[in-house]
């Protein structure tokens, strides 16, 4: 319902336009006259301010400018219409469906285009971030714990093989990856079968022990991986806490032989070469690793050979095949 004042004002304005006087207008609405009068006076002032003339010069100048702009625009190629203004097309729903399907296939397959091209990228390559992002994306879409763990292990293996590839190509590149610490010595550690040189200026979390999951940032240089920073991601997990998947080979270890990682980890000297106690303890500790680490993280024989050659006699690198 409209306010009666609004209607009365409109009637009065129309009457004033037709030549009526203010008083005659107000006489139609005696109850509202007090409110209407100042408003109508303002309306009369606003009307008096109006000018109906149009300066000829302004009209001509503006007309010339507008027609010139039209002539210039005719020479220019029009910008393409946005897709929502391109008019109805019977093929449009099909086009949209096809686009959506193509994007879905691209996202799910991961075997085409950029992702495919990045699959062989190494650290330092332009496509390497694409490869790592794609891995992260696939991980985020994997909700089954076993599948996820399997994927993580395969990516960790991929990191190791990337570093070996960098060694082969004698490339000096920054690398970062996560791995399980297999042995610790003062100058060299072994993670996932990969030997890392520990310089005195490397930043290393104090709580890292054998069996810890760590994140390593380092640099490959002439066949050696130099650690710049090693950060603890997760401490060693007690064996009981690991659910063993059915597919993993089981290994019964007598309780009396079990050596917890925390017990071995406090003794870095035990891993030194020449120390007779180092090898058995390291071996036992690896037995206590989760079975996924035993099965998935075991470095390839050729890798372990390389390490044993490179490491010389300084580090007791556990031979991955010795357990089996």
């Amino acid at each position: 319902m409209n306010n009666p004042l609004y209607d009365a004002l409109e009637i009065c304005i129309t009457d004033l336009e037709r030549g009526a006087t203010l008083d005659s207008c107000l006489a139609q609405f005696p109850a509202l006259a007090g409110d209407l009068q100042p408003i109508l006076e303002s309306a009369q002032q606003a009307r008096a301010f109006s000018q109906n003339t149009l300066p000829t010069g302004a009209y001509r100048r503006a007309r010339t400018r507008v027609l010139q702009a039209a002539a210039e625009l005719r020479q220019q190629k029009p910008a393409p219409l946005p897709f929502w203004k391109r008019g109805p097309s019977p093929a449009r729903p099909f086009r949209l469906a096809f686009t959506a399907l193509a994007m879905l296939i691209f996202l799910l397959s991961g075997g085409t285009g950029l992702v495919s091209a990045s699959s062989n990228a190494l650290p330092g390559d332009h496509l390497y971030p694409v490869k790592r992002s794609w891995e992260g994306f696939r991980l985020s879409l994997t909700f089954n714990p076993l599948e996820r763990e399997h994927l993580e292990r395969s990516y960790e293996k991929e990191r190791v093989s990337e570093i070996h590839e960098l060694f082969t190509k004698k490339r000096m590149e920054q690398v970062y990856f996560q791995a399980i610490v297999e042995s610790q010595a003062s100058d060299f550690w072994v993670v996932d079968g990969l030997k890392i040189r520990i310089d005195h200026d490397a930043k290393i979390d104090a709580a890292i022990t054998i069996g810890s999951l760590v994140e390593i940032k380092g640099e490959t240089d002439d066949g050696i991986l130099k650690a710049e920073e090693i950060r603890l991601i997760a401490p060693p997990t007690p064996p009981a806490a690991y659910p063993k998947p059915q597919s993993a080979p089981s290994r019964d270890i007598p309780a009396s032989e079990t050596i917890r990682p925390s017990e071995t980890a406090t003794l870095p000297e035990q891993t030194r070469v020449g120390d007779d106690t180092a090898q058995p303890e390291t071996t036992e500790q690896k037995k206590d690793q989760p079975k996924t680490e035993e099965t998935e993280k075991t470095p390839s024989p050729e890798h372990s050979d390389e390490h044993s050659e490179e490491g010389g006699s300084q580090t007791a690198t556990p031979a991955p095949t010795s357990h089996d």
Binding site: N2, F49, P80
Partner: protein, 201 residues
Amino acid sequence: MYTYGLPGMSDNIFSPALRYMASSLTQTDELDGLRRLDTRIVGAIYDRYFPEVFRFVRYRLNDEHLAEDIASDTFVRLLEATHNGRGPESNLRAWLLSTASHIITDHLRKAYRRPTEMLSDEQPDTLENLASTVEQRERGARLKAALQTLTEEQQNVIALRFGQGYSLEETARALKKNANAIKQLQFRALAALNRQMGEKQ
């Protein structure tokens, strides 16, 4: 009441044929010709709507030079927008007035940030007209100052209803609102104008 004629202009600007063309084109003809940038149609559209746009801007700014610039800018924007597929699809007059209103707002915003005093290059007034001209200018300046304290919508309603002489329905179409909304808006606009004028006197 709005007419398609061009009040205040000498007849030698338009030939009768052009005047007929400007008033006989349908909205569809106008929009089609505009998309093709057809010189005759663009000219006809200009002839038909420029006076309205010019007077609308002049009423809001009380400045003929600015009104000329802003009105011609409005038409150039119309051409550019249509050329790029973003032009009006139905109500050309509403599009032009709305664009002019936006350009005015932009201008006022810039002027508020960088206030300048414009020098008038108009012809000096004759002695006999001097008193009335001064009084008229003062009244105009007061009204302009009061108008500019209103909201953009309120200013547009006042400019269209009292500056252009649009009817309620024409104002509603130009502002893309219904008639009741315009009744309410004009009441509030005039009440606010009355308050502002009272304060400035």
